[in-house]
């Protein structure tokens, strides 16, 4: 089987563009990227089913080569799943906009805090004050 080069190129363009958009911080842009990727992959399935042929129903054609029905069944399933996921992400983007009037993804606070301490080369324990208190108590007992 020799793949259809036009379809391969279309799939590659869609998936490539999709990956680029998926890297965006804006939820809606990333969602568009996901959609493009999904469509690119669906076309990839079309490539994998080989050249077009007769309707794959027994006794329906002239007995020429039938199209392979399995990739089409797989693509249908994938389309339905993509639809459901898009619905969820859209509602998530709407919720993010409701809460912050924005759909840009923020950094994790805890990560930022630890990152800042790493940059300041701060190796102290956060509960240093407690540790000092305990050390002072021990010192008193020793005396």
């Amino acid at each position: 089987m020799s793949p259809n080069i036009a379809l391969v190129l279309v799939a590659a363009t869609l998936i490539g563009t999709g990956v680029y958009l998926l890297l965006a911080r804006s939820i809606v842009r990333a969602l568009v990227g996901f959609l493009l990727m999904g469509n690119g992959i669906n076309i990839l399935f079309m490539v994998s089913s080989g050249p077009a042929g007769e309707v794959p129903i027994l006794g329906h054609g002239d007995g020429d080569r039938m199209a392979d029905p399995i990739p089409q069944a797989l693509v249908l399933t994938a389309i339905v799943i993509t639809l459901a996921m898009v619905a969820f992400v859209l509602s998530l983007a709407h919720r993010a906009w409701q809460l912050g009037r924005d759909d840009l993804l923020e950094d994790d606070e805890e990560s930022v805090r630890i990152h800042r301490r790493a940059e300041e080369n701060d190796l102290s324990d956060e509960s240093r004050d407690d540790a000092d208190v305990i050390a002072a108590e021990f010192a008193e007992e020793d005396e």
């Binding site: 996901f34 992959i41 994998s48 996921m85 992400v89 998530l92 809460l99 994790d108 805890e110 990560s111």
Partner: protein, 517 residues
């Protein structure tokens, strides 16, 4: 030999039916609880029967709708699948009982107890059905559908309540999961183009026939998709970022199940589809880096939930190590370690939920003296924490010994480096949990004059350490200890499972039957 095959679809069908009933019964909390618990109990009984059947009679196979394997979907339960279904059902039951014990109003403090609890039970059951689908599927595309089921359910659970922090964490998690699914789907399309099938058993026979370089490309694509799911370094950054914000029961079930589904898929494809082990050296390096980078992350964390998330990433490295060894001993130890790890991580996250109920926070710098405040909580944290670190005689120690033995048997320098890495990781795990223990459980409770006092979480069913939440946690801790008690027979089963996985013949025979292929 296929007498029990009628049971095979039930671990998927029953939870889905239960989810439907629960959706219809929204608002009737008692009906929902009854349905969820009885369905999961039934699934547990069925999966135990399936383990017995798969162990004694061979893999149990169903051809859905009577379609031949080449056209239709095949469901198959062998020892590995049965073991995974049993443990995943046990932890899901434990978590559900914990969330029932929390009571309706206290479920979610973040949104003043008004989180949409009615969707919790149906979603948990869908999650359980999705996890089971992945475990019992004999078809690559059907496995993808199982992934999507459990992902959709996990999206809902992670963003429960829709607060700002959860939406932020949810977005990261959703897009990373979607990307990994897309990669898996690309791999499936490529595999179909190369071989003309997505059935695992037929694939196993056909992948030998295609050129080696094509097969390596397919292999890499599949592994990449699964490794994102399993949180293998360098694809692990999303996990500690997204898990800790969810409510305790949700994080617990995620930590136990979701990454292990990726690990299961890796075990299955590595043994069945690509038995030559061309990429094992790469996986070894990934395992080493996952262990070390993960545990170094855990050591710096202040928040207990985040610390546990990093140990979760780190210990995925052990599982990958066993898989990458590719020997019967390695795979057997990896399966044992998966079972141990699912139980222990879930337990620890539930205990952290208790810490939050008692102390009002999970930031260890704001805690202290918990062992004095509640000795029971101290014991409940201490036992699984030592189990995680691999202190004898717990199951974590036995699993690690199995892995180390398999690594030394392998004898290559890379395997020995991994053995050393495993020991170092184990020690650092001990350091990480000991650090949390010292900060949160020892010392004195914060005093009012420090501006830090305990503000116990709102409690639906009375006290912070009420029986409703303590009993499920105790039973999961006990289940983890039970793994130690039955470690001998369990290792026998995982040995047989690993041997069958590496032989491939029992699986192929069960799906394809006798005759030329």
């Amino acid at each position: 030999m296929n007498d029990f095959s009628w049971m095979v679809p039930l671990p998927v069908v029953l939870p889905l039916v239960g989810a439907g009933i629960n959706l219809a019964a929204v608002g009737r909390t008692r009906v929902q609880r009854l349905v969820s618990m009885s369905i999961l109990t039934a699934v547990l009984a069925i999966s135990v029967a399936l383990l017995f059947a798969a162990d004694q009679l061979g893999p149990q196979v169903v051809q859905v709708g009577g379609w031949a394997p080449a056209e239709g979907v095949v469901l198959i339960v062998d020892r590995l699948s049965a073991l995974m279904v049993i443990v995943s059902t046990v932890v899901t039951m434990g978590v559900l009982r914990y969330s029932i014990g929390q009571g309706r109003s206290s479920f979610d403090n973040e949104s003043d107890g008004h989180a949409p609890l009615p969707v919790f039970h149906p979603t948990m059951l869908v999650l359980s059905a999705g996890v089971s689908t992945t475990f019992i599927s004999g078809d690559l595309f059907h496995m993808y559908v199982g992934f999507e089921m459990l992902l959709a359910a996990s999206f809902v659970l992670l963003t429960l309540g829709g607060t700002e922090a959860r939406v932020r964490a949810g977005v990261t998690y959703v897009f990373v999961s979607l990307l990994s699914s897309m990669m898996f789907l690309i791999a499936i399309a490529m595999i179909y183009a190369a071989t003309g099938t997505v059935n695992l058993a037929i694939l196993a026979t056909r992948l030998d026939m295609i050129p080696d370089d094509t097969s390596v490309v397919l292999h890499v694509l599949l592994i990449l998709g699964f490794c994102v799911k399993a949180a293998v370094f360098p694809m692990s950054g999303w996990l500690p970022d997204s898990y800790p914000t969810a409510p305790a029961p949700v994080t617990a079930v995620f930590a136990g199940l979701l990454t292990k589904v990726g690990v299961y898929a890796l075990i299955r494809t590595q043994t069945l589809l690509f038995p030559d082990g061309t990429l094992n050296a790469v996986l070894m390096w990934a395992a080493l880096l996952t262990m070390i980078v993960g545990i170094l992350g855990a050591v710096t964390q202040d928040d207990i939930k985040r610390m546990l998330s990093f140990t979760l990433v780190s210990h995925i490295g052990y599982l990958l190590f066993g898989i990458a060894l590719g020997s019967a001993a390695g795979v057997s130890a990896a399966i044992f370690y998966v079972l141990h790890h699912i139980t222990i991580q879930t337990t620890l996250f539930l205990v952290t939920g208790l810490v939050e109920r008692v102390g009002g926070t999970t930031a260890s710098s704001h805690l202290g003296g918990l062992a004095k405040v509640s000795p029971l909580l101290g014991i409940l944290f201490f036992v699984p924490a030592m189990n995680l670190a691999g202190i004898p005689p717990f199951s974590g120690f036995l699993g690690k010994v199995g892995l180390l033995q398999a690594g030394v048997e392998d004898g290559t320098w890379l395997a020995l480096v991994l053995v050393i890495g495993s020991v170092v990781t184990s020690l650092l795990t001990l350091y990480a949990v000991a650090r949390v223990w010292g900060r949160a459980f020892w010392g004195s409770a914060p005093q009012a004059e420090d501006g830090m006092t305990y503000t116990p979480a709102r409690t639906g069913n009375g006290r912070a350490m009420g029986a409703g939440v303590v009993l499920p946690t105790v039973s999961l801790v006990a289940f983890g200890l039970g793994l130690t008690l039955v470690a001998g027979p369990l290792f026998d089963i995982t040995d047989r499972a690993a041997l069958d996985l590496l032989l491939r013949e029992p699986y192929l025979l069960a799906v394809l039957g006798e005759g030329p292929r």
